[in-house]
Amino acid sequence: MSASQSAVRSRAEAVQVSRTLDWMILFTLFTAVLGGYHIHYMLTGGDWDFWSDWKDRRLWVTVAPIVSITFPAAVQACLWWRYRLPIGATVAVLGLLLGEWINRYLNFWGWTYFPVNFVFPSQLLPGAIVLDVVLMLGGSMTLTAVVGGMAYGLLFYPGNWPVIAPLHVPVEYNGMMMTLADLQGYHYVRTGTPEYIRMVEKGTLRTFGKDVAPVSAFFSAFVSIIIYFLWHFFGRWFAKTDFISDDAS
């Protein structure tokens, strides 16, 4: 067999080989990105994502989009610029959410017995879809960073509103005013997470009342744009195919 000959014996076999490899590549890419993204997200924004009583109007809204736009930007940089696949952000976020949901059910609930409506993960899909759609329609990294990145930050709170709103209604308990989410935290004691390390509603911005969440989302959107740019270039670097010399001398 000459060096110019194909490794397959028919076009049908070539198609079959190609499809089989597609699935193996997709599985590996999905699980590896899931693992890296999950460890990144849980250790940079995890506390706000683990517990409903951390999901406040200020820091959760600010932190979650900023730290979660990272891997979507990087995966987009590979899948779009190499393969014209406008699904990078959605694939990354789906991976993260799958890992989180499995964990919240099997471990937060299954091992340490917290109810799932206390430990559900934040919803990131609306922002990811918009990020992919902007990239697909615009074909521009700059446009995706500015318009998509801003949308990613701004959409986070509205995207989570349907699930968090019932837990943000006020309740009075032992003469104290708190939210239903606060009350969940009060009842489900986490010995390793005492109240004094819970970072919610910090600062005087909360006196703005209704403006806290939109202001936080707007700030988050601003930083998300910058983080998108940075992580796009990280993604390009990680997608390189370079070899370095293995000559030790």
Binding site: M1, A3, S4, Q5, S6, A7, V8, R9, S10, A14, V17, T20, L21, M24, I25, F27, T28, L29, F30, T31, A32, V33, L34, G35, G36, H38, I39, L43, T44, G45, G46, D47, W48, F50, A74, V75, C78, R82, G99, I102, L106, N107, F108, G110, W111, T112, R190, T191, G192, T193, I197, G235, F238, A239, K240, T241, D242, F243, I244, D247
Partner: protein, 250 residues
């Protein structure tokens, strides 16, 4: 006609391009093993894992740690040693079809690496979060650490290095030198294990509480980014496979 018959016989005797049995068995091996581990945690985490000074902690958890450390060293030495010892010294002269077959075997290794990364970096790492935020730790070797740091991380390291060694010793694609992103994809997640040293040292100062986003944990974050280098490996593989498939049909 005779030549055609011979060719058909040769095809029938030839090993398949993708060994589906190995792929499925490998996938199930991790799944069944980790399901057993999760069952063990569920039973002995609460009953024997809360007080590291208790005799039952030594029985059910420290002995588990000692056994897994020995098995990991033995497995890594045997697997990596076998891959190196049986390397192909004439790797550049294999036929395109044999090269494609080896790429498929390589992809079985990569699928296992992705699968092992999922269990280590996602499943058992976030599980560690809920354990620490619920239970006050009194040792570096908590039940969740004995599984996360000293079992699931070494397993993905063993798998990743094996995958890299397979590529380096059997595939012409990787004979040009050292593939930078492949090394990042293997060494980066590997570095999460030594970073445990920083983590445990830090926690000797802050034993009583767990803030998961504490800067002490950022070493894990930094090295976790290296998982993205799998994109560089995928791109290299796609280029190599495209060349193999687009040549003139035999």
């Amino acid at each position: 006609m005779a030549a055609t018959t011979e060719s058909v016989k040769a095809d029938a005797a030839e090993a398949p391009l993708l060994n589906k049995r190995n792929l499925i068995l490998g996938f199930l091996l991790y799944l069944v093993f980790y399901s057993f581990i999760r069952w063990y945690e569920g039973v002995y985490g609460w009953s024997a894992g809360l007080d590291s000074f208790a005799p039952e902690f030594e029985t059910y958890w420290m002995n588990m740690l000692y056994i897994e450390l020995v098995l990991e060293v033995v497995t890594a030495s045997a697997l990596w040693g076998w891959l190196w010892k049986t390397r192909d010294r004439k790797v550049m002269s294999i036929t395109p079809r044999e090269e494609l077959r080896r790429h498929f075997t390589h992809w079985i290794w990569l699928v296992m690496y992705g699968w092992a990364i999922y269990w280590g970096a996602s499943y058992f790492t976030e599980q560690d979060g809920t354990w620490h935020q619920t239970i006050v730790r009194d040792t570096d070797f908590t039940p969740s650490h004995i599984i996360e740091f000293y079992l699931s991380y070494p397993i993905y390291i063993i798998t990743g290095v094996a995958s890299f060694l397979y590529a380096k010793t059997r595939l012409p694609t990787y004979q040009q030198g050292l593939h930078l992103m492949y090394m990042v994809a293997v060494i980066g997640p590997f570095m999460i294990l030594p970073n445990v040293g920083l983590n445990e040292w830090g926690h000797t100062f802050w034993f009583m509480e767990e803030l998961f986003v504490a800067p002490l944990h950022y070493g894990f974050v930094f090295f976790g980014w290296a998982a993205l280098a799998i994109m560089g490996v995928v791109n290299t593989e796609v280029i190599a496979l495209t060349k193999l498939l687009k040549k003139d049909l035999a």
